[in-house]
Point group: C2
Chain length 410, copies 2
Amino acid sequence: MSEFLTLITPEEALRRLNAHVKTLVGVEQVRVTDALGRIVAGDLRSPEDLPAFPRSTMDGYAVRAADTYGASEGLPAYLRVVGEMPMGKHAALTVGKGEAVKVHTGGALADGADAIVMVENTQQVDAETIEVSRPLAPGENLLKIGDDVKKRDLLFPSGHVLRPQDIGAMTALGVTQVSVFLRPRVAIISAGDEVVTPETSPAPGQVRDINTHTISGLVRQTGGVPVPQGIVRDDAAELEKAARRAINDADVVVISSGSSVSTRDMTAAVISSLGKPGVLVHGVSLRPGKPTILAAVNGKPVFGLPGNPVSAMVVFDLFVRPTIFTVGGCPRPPMPPVVTARLTHNIASTTGREDYVPVALAVKDGTYLATPIFGESNLITTLVRAAGLAKIPLDKHGLTAGEMVSVRLF
Amino acid sequence: MSEFLTLITPEEALRRLNAHVKTLVGVEQVRVTDALGRIVAGDLRSPEDLPAFPRSTMDGYAVRAADTYGASEGLPAYLRVVGEMPMGKHAALTVGKGEAVKVHTGGALADGADAIVMVENTQQVDAETIEVSRPLAPGENLLKIGDDVKKRDLLFPSGHVLRPQDIGAMTALGVTQVSVFLRPRVAIISAGDEVVTPETSPAPGQVRDINTHTISGLVRQTGGVPVPQGIVRDDAAELEKAARRAINDADVVVISSGSSVSTRDMTAAVISSLGKPGVLVHGVSLRPGKPTILAAVNGKPVFGLPGNPVSAMVVFDLFVRPTIFTVGGCPRPPMPPVVTARLTHNIASTTGREDYVPVALAVKDGTYLATPIFGESNLITTLVRAAGLAKIPLDKHGLTAGEMVSVRLF
């Protein structure tokens, strides 16, 4: 066996790769309403104060707080209602001593007033008079100018991934265009003499391509642009040609190759021939996914993924996903969805190795139950039946039925 | 106060709505490679067996298991290597008694053989001979025809949401087109005399529209098509006109209206005027989100969402999200991402009410820490700073620092 595996932990492996990966510098302006999932390029500061005017947070009356000092149910303050503030306007209404102006939630504060008394704490005495049954502090039940966001406040640091509420925050502040990093282009090469396209009727010995399509979906979910490179024969010269084209055309290269030792060794040799520093990690203390190749060529990450679909998904999640975010300008990727579940069966493992086991999930009495899907790791049905991957940490010699386990949903 | 709130639990509220909501019947054929996130319409069965030929799962030699019976390190079996099975072909090689054919992981099984011996359990004796140091059972280290998927096996039930691995499973089976439900069209109406578009420079008393854009993003994440209807004045006739147009044009209607009691009452009255059964729920034992309106008009769900952004997100997640899936043909929506975290501060609540509190998340010693973001619930910065919403269940009178809490990531 020519293969030399220095097994390091997944965490250490990613650190070694990160040291050689460059972030994209390309930036584009997009409409805020098209920016969902994009990564903010450059710190974004608020162009204005929000709210831009003092606003009531309650239905009630704008008053002078001093007029309510000492008010109680037994000894209420009496105020004269001099008008109603319409929504969407700042009507020329002034609250003088002993006066009140009716206001709705979100309405502007009348001039002269400094607090809002909730309608629940008032009693209508006659058409023009209310009783106030509790004292107010100045500023109560209202937002002052800039209480939500102040002009020049940092709204999002560079690298922030935009979520629905972030889009809403920008529209609230009148930000209609935003500068975002270009989406990383991820080239996907599927290598193997046995691999044919999904449209082909396979001859005996041939199988249709799975990983190009699974990985394309994963890349899309990660905010990247999948750039499938087609199927390449198990031939060093052909693979090298395809890999060179991919590295010129894309920001990240993923090579999914066969699972035989000879194929993996050839993939590693080809990657190393592309440029410096080449292969950084070949072999990780991980199951499935041990024969993973992590490499960098002139600042661009190159991955050699095991051919079987379960391994490919695990390796994508642990290494490719965070790297696509790093390349795309987001140094701290959003947390992947993980639930804590109670294991229904024992799972064997080995201390010093991180294991991921496909599990089905059910809910019982408000707790997730994780049932391992045992079987060959190269079965596509394993992944189709699974709701996620249960993690057996490095330091565990397996897990016992009844133990809690974290499950990465997919 | 004309408002009459019958407070029911969020679970019961959703059940009442579901009883009146119809699933879309429209279906379209899409390319499998464009089907990520779509919902399968009709049970999908496998068109063929996978694998289509007996395949090795290891690097090694195809042998007759009977030739290895009794083999051990001390007393190995000697086999004559008669050839090598190339990848991607079924070469005319036959394994006779005492013979072996070299094979790679994923390669076809040679005729006459019924098991694969791993290369690790063999020793090369000379150019033509190997030693086998352990006995094999028939079928060992190989997949027989249909071991992964059998022809006509159920691959996905109708209503399954397609994930990356499901796309890969279909391409593996030569499925290149798939029948999916049409994406639900979700009309979004933003009502309020104070609301202006993001492009507008607001006059005193006016605020820019937030919820149309936040909700559009949430609808996209849920697989629906947002159909923004623009901003409508707080006028019953105008709102009714907009709502009627929305219900004709879309499959789901979301009305985000102001937070004042009068506005909410008007919204409820307008919804009830649209058709039967009208408003089903007005008020849920939920904070924020108490004044939620759930309604159905001729099988189409209509939602009245509170105006403030945090409430709108909570109500979207609890009611609109599952309903979009139901309408779209998926009766059991994918689990939303939830992590379990340790609370850093006490949170007050009331028994009988479900509370959602925006929290920031950090990781310490492998555990998530959830820090509540206190403050006005109508601040957009609360949502921008939050990583998710911590849930305080109905039966809890608040939670104490140190307790574990589930956090819905967003």
